[in-house]
Symmetry: C2
Subunit: 168 residues, 2 copies
Amino acid sequence: MKNRAPLLTVLLGSIILLNAALTTDAQSKDKAEIRQWLDQWAKAFRAHDLDAIMSMYVPDVVAYDIVPPLQYVGKEAYRKDYAQFLAQYDGPIEVEFRDVKIFVGHDVAFVYCLERLNGRLKSGQKSDVWLRDTSGFQKISGKWLNIHDHVSVPADFDSGKALLDLKP
Amino acid sequence: MKNRAPLLTVLLGSIILLNAALTTDAQSKDKAEIRQWLDQWAKAFRAHDLDAIMSMYVPDVVAYDIVPPLQYVGKEAYRKDYAQFLAQYDGPIEVEFRDVKIFVGHDVAFVYCLERLNGRLKSGQKSDVWLRDTSGFQKISGKWLNIHDHVSVPADFDSGKALLDLKP
């Protein structure tokens, strides 16, 4: 058995190094895929493409949206929320992301960023609002899907107002 | 070499099985640690213990808080925000978490839940509010630290009001 010890050491060493290299590589790839998720979402949202938007979420998504109630539980509830929100706008809604940070673990990731929505409401009025967005993801069958959204603006406790006109 | 092949197969198989077992075990442990983070935070928050609260965050935390501005960048800014918020209350602030969901990847985790803050303001008025909370964590030197908070209530776009009186 004595000539096997060096072989095992080399083998285990190689596995550890290979593992580290694969992890770094996989992380970069995963971060790029999450960034693609955001861009794909923005494209679908701009175009009011509800089916394309909802294909990016898991069935049991839980969302804390900018509008009430406190939470939307499940894809059907969240889809109705999206439909109502999009119906307020006439034509494309431009999306801008700023200060995007992406954190990836094994099959779990989350992102936070500031998000500007800019478009024309059906009333004719322009709407240009900066939101805060935090989203969580899980990699399912090799594909990153959104499992949680949290979108909001801060509140002014003295006036009771939602601060919809803040700029970063 | 011919008698080494079965040894290598068994060795690699064992590594794969061991890895899977360790991953499941580690995930349960990590989830329990994130839950402990929440409970430890609630204890420190209840007691207005600013140092204990801030020891649970990384230096470059970015927070989207219930109050403006859009974001607090870095621990010092967030500490001032905490200090101002706590200063509004007289005595303990009770914290209740509901519908807590924890997702753990390798060294990255996030949690979302509804969060009730209940206490007496210095004006003498009672304050009892349900918030939505999403938080992101990184495991650094074996310890889970908060790298991102997002706390909010929904907004009513018609009235411009922050909805501080919603119940789950």
